[in-house]
Symmetry: C2
Subunit: 304 residues, 2 copies
């Protein structure tokens, strides 16, 4: 029966339309999507005008995206979907460092930098040192781990948001852990900031009277052969909005104090003057990837 | 508790974030969306790469849209969502003509035409007359009803798909029913056709080994003051794919035979030569709109 479909038989027909899908994972995802999407539609029973408004919203969200703006990630973030995906995946690696959202600003390649280098080219802001170690869940150091960091400046903007004011690569760096699995770099303490509100997601936040603010943080992507890639932040302890992150991404384990270190020897070892502010983050990686992550041919990386 | 959210508490937090939404309808829709979207994510437990692929797919779908292409409507169509929305709304008007999907090609204003005019400027194809009446569910004629029609040509393409081959407005017409609520126009019998497969929706159909074909049909939007607007098709009886529409939109009540009429008087009255092929569609409108259709301030019309 493929004509005169009613609200329930329609769902069965759409699910049935995927029966020949060769990739069994894709088939299962589409079947689940159909069931839940149709259930949502039956529950809210949208008028035709409301359906048109939804089409309009999704279209505008896609059209807002460009090389340096990812509005669909922002939508996923404010609906808690990004954090849900991270949290579900995180549960498989309870002994590793907690993950949190990628966010919409990992749009450009971070410049390769040497340990100790300053990722901030700006004179404004409180200078800090961020340092730590990369180890396995079993405690061994992971020398050579690749540490990709990106952050907003002291005004709360990423490089890609301020063309002509910041150069691309400001606030970003790709570091390699030393032979002890340790790393350090200089920066400025980032500011809390509002997520971009000049697009459809901003319209959604205004229509729902939600605040757009995220507490201050530095993003980390950490990768090493034979370990699962980790996407996380270090949150600046005491930042405004630490209890009301617009994207639901704060984990207590990721909040780190940025404290003053007056030890001249420590300062000398890091190439800065004492006293200096430092944030310490020790990152623990989980060995090996989930089997289906590498076998799924439908998967593409869009952010790198 | 707004930090360290787990898979279930995250859903509650996102639902809670909408608590101040002034528009109660929008609030209810977003709460329902959050529940069903999160349930879907929990069920399929996507890897990070799969989430990235989904973001990529949605972004590409939005970016494929332009003035004459609506890829998100196409996605809604192939997932059965468009037909589900139509069917749900249709259930409120059981005595009116069945509705069916709008489709993605209602992107340009149909040219105003007089009754009897030929909507096809092409020489190819089997000439036909489409005629019928517009009445209320109580049987009274609806003089002055506005009848917006659009269709593919005999090769299966809409005007907007063939710039340089068809002129914009070919296969389209905006007619006004006469004092008896009747209308007629000339055209060519449209062909079945594949929905556009050169975008993300085409990728989805190929990955799932689904066929893209829709049976031959002519679109109708019918509007009159004090009546609910009707969006429907007339399907050409006997068309290929009438039992396997790629967008699940066929209703038996909308399949009409296109038969030969040899009556010279009928031909003369319609301004054509006998014998001629005709399709007859009598459309029944339901009085008044659903209350929340006109009161919802978040609604925007994107197709007209």
């Amino acid at each position: 029966m493929t004509t005169d479909l009613g609200p329930e038989s329609l769902t069965a027909a759409v699910v049935g339309s995927f029966k020949n899908t060769p990739d069994q994972r894709l088939k299962a995802v589409l079947e689940s999507l159909t069931h839940h999407l149709h259930e949502f539609v039956r529950e809210v029973a949208p008028s035709i005008q409301e359906w048109e408004a939804a089409i309009d919203f999704l279209t505008a969200t896609g059209q807002k995206c460009d090389d340096v703006r990812q509005e669909f990630i922002l939508l996923s973030d404010v609906l808690g979907v990004s954090m849900l995906v991270e949290t579900i995946n995180d549960e498989e690696t309870p002994d590793a460092t907690d993950s949190t959202v990628l966010g919409p600003f990992h749009m450009v390649q971070s410049p390769e930098r040497v340990l100790g280098e300053n990722i901030s080219a700006e004179s404004e802001g409180d200078v800090c040192v961020v340092r730590g170690s990369i180890t396995s869940v079993t405690g061994e150091p992971v020398p050579g781990a690749r540490i990709d960091v990106w952050q907003a400046n002291t005004k709360g903007f990423y490089d890609v948001q301020q063309p002509g004011i910041q150069t691309i690569g400001n606030g970003r760096g790709l570091f390699t852990a030393d032979e002890h699995g340790e790393f350090y770099f200089r920066s400025v303490i980032p500011s809390y900031y509002p997520i971009p509100t000049d697009g459809p997601v901003g319209d959604l936040l205004r229509a729902t009277e939600r605040r757009p603010y995220r507490p201050a943080h530095i993003h980390f992507n950490v990768a090493a052969p034979d370990y699962m890639k980790l996407t996380t932040h270090i949150f600046v302890g005491g930042s405004e909005y630490i209890d009301s992150d617009a994207v639901f991404a704060v984990k207590e384990s990721l909040i780190k104090p940025f404290t003053t270190n007056a030890d001249p020897e420590a300062a000398a070892a890091l190439g800065v003057a004492a006293p200096f502010v430092e944030g310490v983050i020790d990152i623990v990686l989980h060995p090996e990837a989930r089997p289906h992550e590498d076998s799924n041919e439908t998967v593409k990386e869009i952010v790198r």
